[in-house]
């Protein structure tokens, strides 16, 4: 869901850049130097994981995992995703340069919202409840991202409105897959390393 350069109007680009900057600035501020290796290594792990392609009918989807990123990193998701998107744009020609701000906001903001909405849910005592909250986080972040991508397009031109609607429909299966995958990942992490899901809360205090 990387928008390329040239598709969006100037006001949308500018808004994205400003919001992106704010998010990254807050993220950097919340992350002190001692957490750098942690965020960096996790960011690398997400980079690798987001290349996993899952078959879906005749085609395949690659995971975005922004729900899980949000849950794991909180505000630090902004700088982490900026780095990932920059690397993709610059070395793989994926996405664009001036749209980086919009792309970062479209992917990181839903992750952040999921972090605030679901982090208590995934820490509940019942594994089933946690899985459901994980699924909500995974699917919800994709839903939000899709809406924001469609919104960025629709705001950039009337002609995109139909396409924006199509985008929404086309991503329903992706939401299902992401929901499932995120729920499973949350279940595993809860069991194997429960400290993990509290990390971001520590930063809040710090």
């Amino acid at each position: 869901m990387h928008i390329v350069d040239g598709a969006l109007s100037v006001p949308v680009l500018a808004t994205g850049a400003v919001l992106g900057l704010i998010g990254v600035a807050i993220g950097l501020k919340k992350m002190d130097y001692d957490h750098l290796p942690q965020v960096g290594v996790l960011s690398a792990a997400f980079f690798i994981a987001s290349y996993i392609h899952l078959p879906l009918g005749f085609s395949s989807v690659h995971l975005i995992l922004n729900g899980l990123i949000g849950l794991a990193l909180g505000w630090a998701a902004f700088p982490a995703l900026l780095v990932a998107l920059l690397l993709q744009a610059v070395f793989f020609g994926f996405g664009g340069f001036l749209v980086l701000g919009v792309n970062v906001v479209n992917i990181a903001l839903p992750g952040l919202l999921v972090y605030y909405l679901c982090r208590h849910g995934i820490a509940t005592s019942s594994p089933k409840g946690a899985a459901i909250w994980g699924a909500i986080g995974g699917a919800g972040s994709i839903l939000l991202t899709t809406i924001m991508v469609a919104g960025s397009l629709a705001l950039s031109g009337e002609a995109f409105i139909l396409a924006a609607k199509a985008t929404l429909v086309a991503h329903i299966p992706v939401m299902v897959v992401e929901g499932f995958v995120t729920a499973a990942a949350v279940l595993l992490i809860r069991k194997v390393k429960p400290e993990f899901l509290n990390i971001s809360e520590d930063w809040e205090d710090a």
Binding site: L187, L188, K191, V192, K193
Partner: protein
């Protein structure tokens, strides 16, 4: 004798690395327990990976279970029938609990959930890990991890076992238990190990990788550090 796996002229090279395997001819027959030795980096792991199609050979043929295997799709069946134990248990354990991990293989083979759980349970019993079902894989000791991975391979009821340094990271007691378990198993095996004593208890045939070639003999490094070919 039934030939289970056979290679002809198998070669492999890594980019920016010399030849790792050079025209390897090898046969694994029913009842064989082959010790595969060679120094670090000799290409032992690579050879096993080629046999089950995890890496693609640069030249040569692989025949397994009665058919030539070339493509990914053909190797899927090979992997279902040849159980592969990896060098590092941490790479192999990715489910949260022991039971789920052991049941992963049978589920991949299309077994129903109940049956898979049943098989997993049996496999755990057979390696002496009854009662470990709900334990968290990541928190097991090295020896326990190794046994769980063995169980997860056995749960697939393979016809051949490919064991990559199975006695690594085991203390003396666990090592003996492993020897006993492996001795009782009827399958043909290829066992990679640097532990000659371990191999002495298990192997009935020795092969050795050196300079990218495979030799059908046994070279033993005796304590005085002289190399003798037996």
């Amino acid at each position: 004798m039934t030939v289970l796996i056979e290679t002809r002229g198998l070669s492999y090279r890594y980019p920016r690395r010399g030849e790792v395997l050079n025209e390897i001819d090898f046969k694994l027959e029913a009842g064989d327990r082959v010790a595969l030795t060679g120094s670090n980096g000799a290409g032992k792991t690579t050879l096993l990976h080629l046999l089950v199609g995890l890496k693609k050979a640069k030249a040569g043929e692989i025949h397994a279970f009665g058919a030539q295997r070339r493509e990914e799709k053909e190797f899927v069946e090979v992997r279902a029938r040849a159980g592969f134990l990896f060098q590092d248990p941490d790479d192999q354990l990715f489910c949260p609990t022991v039971l789920e991990d052991v049941a992963f293989g049978p589920l991949n083979l299309g077994k129903a959930r109940d049956e898979a759980m049943q098989l997993a349970h049996q496999a755990l019993v057979s390696v002496g890990l009854e009662g470990f079902e709900e334990r968290v894989t990541h928190q097991l000791s090295g020896g326990e991890k190794r046994m769980v991975t063995l169980a997860s391979v056995l749960a697939m009821e393979p016809e051949v076992l490919l064991l990559d340094e199975p006695s690594n990271a085991l203390d003396t007691k666990a090592r003996w238990r492993l020897i006993n378990i492996l001795q009782e198993l009827p399958q043909a095996m290829i066992i990679i190990s640097h532990d000659d004593d371990f191999l002495d208890h298990l192997a009935n045939r020795w092969v050795r990788l050196e300079d990218a070639k495979l030799f059908e003999d046994r070279r033993m490094i005796v304590p005085e550090l002289r190399a003798v070919t037996v």
